[in-house]
């Protein structure tokens, strides 16, 4: 009854009215009108206007159509950050097809798995990645067309059935392609997230979600009075690969706002720094290790890095790195999100007056996980989905609602339901919330120690132990305990010649419990402080806590 009533209250629409579905193509319409002459350049070597870009999007669509791509097809792309990738970001979804941005850094086996899982029919591949494709070719079950792309337009020797070269296909195509309207919930993009265990899982976004991410994120990025912001005169260069969560959706925002776009190809520090200078780049985003790499390279070459705004994501922005970047004139700040979240869920922008509180306060704020962007409902909840206290102490999991979260994992119904348990997307990130709504991640869900009804951050205890003289490194895990559920267990590697006893470690941590820095529950018993010769690591160099938990089970 109620539902019938509600459906009567929808707005009436006249037959000729245009309903305006939110489609990727709509991000282009306005820019083509008011920024037609804006530039897009690939490494400063090739250069065309937005009008030229639109023309090539039409050429690409016709070229793909001639290779059998239709609405519903999946087209995989393996490329560096090229103008071709930007063309693919638009042409493929605008045809009603899905762009699959292949992560070229995972193993060849995983690439093969993802291509099969996504059902990719056509593969656009940079000639640099042909050896990978050749290696996995016998395993590919759905790819029927391979289009090779290279900067010099040559067809490299390859054992594959290459069905076309990118530029040659475009050269013989028409620029005229009628991009029709369709349902805004049509799938536009898919890519894979690689956890520490199991097969990669496909995450996907609709046209509506890409457009809403662009609008909400642009609003947030543009809205600060000064600092940590994007504006219409910025020159944008991605330094998060375009295969990685759609380069944080930023290319779509740059096109919507009509910004000059600089595509750097493969990330070579010297080239990136040169492009920063020659193309006057002012806005980028990257992971901490790339920022460190840029700082190192620029220190050697004395590059001027001032006037560069940079969002740091992927992993936490450390105060040390933040300070080093600030000292070089980079307006650096943290962003938060994951493959599943569009990705941008929070940004550590802050009110300009905080800047006057000095560099320590500025660094502290820039390194926060951030404050949620408009339209994002970000909660920090306990096991029963109750909000934890906003006191910067109480820990809980970050759960989200926003208009642009993946609605599941591709063909993984159980994982999809786990992701969305209770109607909120579970990030598996454990955080504290400040009274002002800012969040700070303290741990991953699987690493947090649940003891006596409290959540204890393993990372925080490790940091306190690591600060003790003589400690080389440490790892803290939760081990099962009948009375408390779990108890923290500390593994410590000492420096050569260092002498330290378990009792001293416990006393040190108890001191921090007295000063309320940590809970008393967080302090391991003396017998749970163990000295070891080394701590096992994963392939990417992180402490392998899964292995440690198994070992101490």
């Amino acid at each position: 009854m109620r539902e019938t009533e509600t459906s009567d209250h929808l707005i009436a629409t006249t037959a000729s009215a245009y309903a305006y579905p939110l489609l990727v193509k709509q991000l282009l319409v306005n820019s083509l009108s008011v920024c037609a002459d804006q530039e897009i350049t690939y490494r400063g070597e090739q250069r065309y206007t937005f009008t030229g870009f639109r023309r090539r999007v039409g050429l690409l669509a016709n070229a793909l159509a001639s290779r059998g791509v239709r609405a519903g097809s999946t087209v995989a792309v393996m490329d560096w950050d090229t103008h071709r990738y930007l063309e693919s970001y638009f042409a493929i979804p605008m045809m009603g097809a899905t762009i699959f941005t292949v992560n070229v850094r995972i193993s060849a086996q995983q690439i093969a798995y993802t291509l099969n899982d996504a059902g990719a029919e056509v593969l656009i591949v940079n000639s640099d990645f042909l050896p990978i494709v050749e290696a996995i070719w016998p395993e590919l079950k759905t790819v029927r067309e391979v289009i090779v792309a290279s900067d010099d337009d040559t067809r490299p020797a390859a054992s594959l059935p290459i069905t076309g070269e990118y530029e040659q296909l475009l050269a013989t195509a028409s620029a005229d392609f009628a991009f029709e309207d369709f349902d805004e919930n049509t799938r536009a993009a898919i890519f894979y997230t690689t956890g520490t265990t199991g097969d990669p899982k496909g995450v996907y976004y609709s046209h509506r979600q890409i457009v809403l991410h662009a609008l909400a994120t642009a609003t947030t990025l543009c809205s600060p009075r000064t600092g940590q912001r994007l504006h219409r005169d910025d020159v944008y260069m991605p330094i998060t690969p375009m295969f990685h969560v759609l380069a944080w959706g930023m290319p779509y925002i740059a096109v919507m706002l009509g910004l000059k776009i600089v595509l750097p190809g493969r990330y070579l520090p010297d080239l990136l720094l040169r492009l920063k200078q020659t193309e006057r780049v002012t806005f980028s985003h990257c992971v901490p290790t790339v920022l460190q790499m840029l700082l190192d390279a620029s220190a050697r070459e004395q590059h001027d890095l001032s006037g560069w705004t940079m969002i740091i994501g992927g992993s936490a922005l450390s105060p040390t790195l933040c300070r080093a970047a600030l000292e070089r004139g980079i307006d650096v700040f943290a962003g938060y999100g994951m493959s599943e979240t569009g990705p941008i869920a929070a940004l550590s922008q802050f009110a300009p007056d905080a800047e006057q509180a000095g560099i320590d306060e500025s660094v502290r704020k820039r390194c926060m996980t951030g404050r949620p962007v408009p339209m994002v409902e970000l909660r920090v909840v306990d096991d029963e989905m109750n909000d934890v206290r906003r006191d910067g102490q109480a820990q809980g999991e970050i759960v989200l609602r926003s208009p642009y979260l993946t609605q599941g994992y591709h063909n993984r119904p159980e994982a999809s339901e786990a992701l969305w348990a209770g109607g909120y997307l579970h990030t598996q990130d454990v955080a504290v919330m400040l009274p002002n709504g800012c969040v700070q991640i303290v741990d991953r869900m699987k690493d947090v120690i649940k003891t006596g009804g409290e959540w204890v951050s393993s990372i925080e205890i490790e940091a306190l132990i690591n600060a003790m003289q003589g400690v080389e490194e440490s790892a803290v895990i939760g081990v099962r305990d009948e009375r408390w559920g779990e108890r923290p267990q500390a593994l410590i590697v000492l420096r050569p010649q260092a002498v330290l006893e378990a009792q001293q470690v416990r006393a040190h941590l108890l001191g921090h419990a007295d000063s309320k820095r940590i809970s008393r529950y967080a302090v391991p018993e003396v017998e749970r402080v163990i000295f070891v010769s080394d701590i096992p690591k994963t392939s990417v160099g992180k402490i392998d806590k899964k292995l440690l938990r198994q070992r101490f089970e």
Copy 2:
């Protein structure tokens, strides 16, 4: 076949996933989290936080529910710009009901017509407007509840069956109201546009449209590097009435961004200027006459107007007024839209370097009709819907597509189809477009003169005639002509003692045709230049061209 195919390509959604409909309530969620202590003040006399605001939205919803308001109900509001109005902007749509913002400046008869046409069931009325409601009460067919609101919470003497007082109803209500999700295409608001002829026509917006207007407009307003912009530290005060096109949607944007909001009640120039000072207002919007009023009042009182950003809409921003405001330190610029368009379709923001070109260039740019905001497709087209040349000369009608245009007129199928003929919303505004996509309105469609296949702006010829010595005012209309379709006819009122002949007027205009300022078609023949003693005006003081056309038919 094609359609079936497409529907197969929608994103898959897991059962527990939250789809996130775009609802007015979502504009509040994030602000309540990150700006909970932000202030909302009514005239500086009452003051509460965003948390307090949300509480009162809950109280109002329960109060209205107790008076029978349900999803689908229409609640009319007649009020000045009060905190109550802002509460109504949220509580009423969030219940699934429609807020009808009554234009209190039209005639009592028209108000009665609109209340009946909209089917308003409940009327919230400021006690100042009770006399109007008393006068039209016998004619009202659908209103069954009258809730009176006054600043001093007293129930004024009235012959109406008043069923409640705003504050008393809130005082006895619970703040707990579960605002459910519903279809984002549910109607949220309705109001009436009053043309020069016929009955007022109802224009309506869905939740989705209000949210998308907020996101797209906020993006535009926030995105300039400096100048003509909105930012997160702005203090917002509407000076376009909240009954007028939802105060340009700005209150929704202010809430979404968590801005401090100052509600000035009835517009009294001295109060507005005092609030600007005491509440540190930095962002407003108004019509040209209100800006003039503020400049006049501030000149008397020596108010400081610097640091005030102001969008001017409703009618054209004249260079004289623009310059006067700039000289007082107001960052003034034009906005373009109509009741039917959400409203904001274009803004005359420009790149900061234009500012360096001097005040004349700055004034010229600020007074342009503007450049379309992202997601808005703005075309200037001829009779066959072909785009006119982008040369600043060729004239055509502005037609629009955007995600937030009214999908019709309430219960007016024919007018709705005319509005949307050919799938674009027809603005009836005649404009020229510059190569950079900026538009400048030159006339209203019904006043433009179509002669020899060209469109001639009546306003432009009038301006050229008015610039001649001895001319008091002039009016130019199109009169039927067998050969040319129409020809311009000029009516001129001379100043006392002035002497001017038709031949001189023609020669003057031909000079402007020679310099390409106007087309030769725009120059009336000598016999079509007529001197008159006065020009008829409409009730709002505009030249009554409809009457003139009838007279010269």
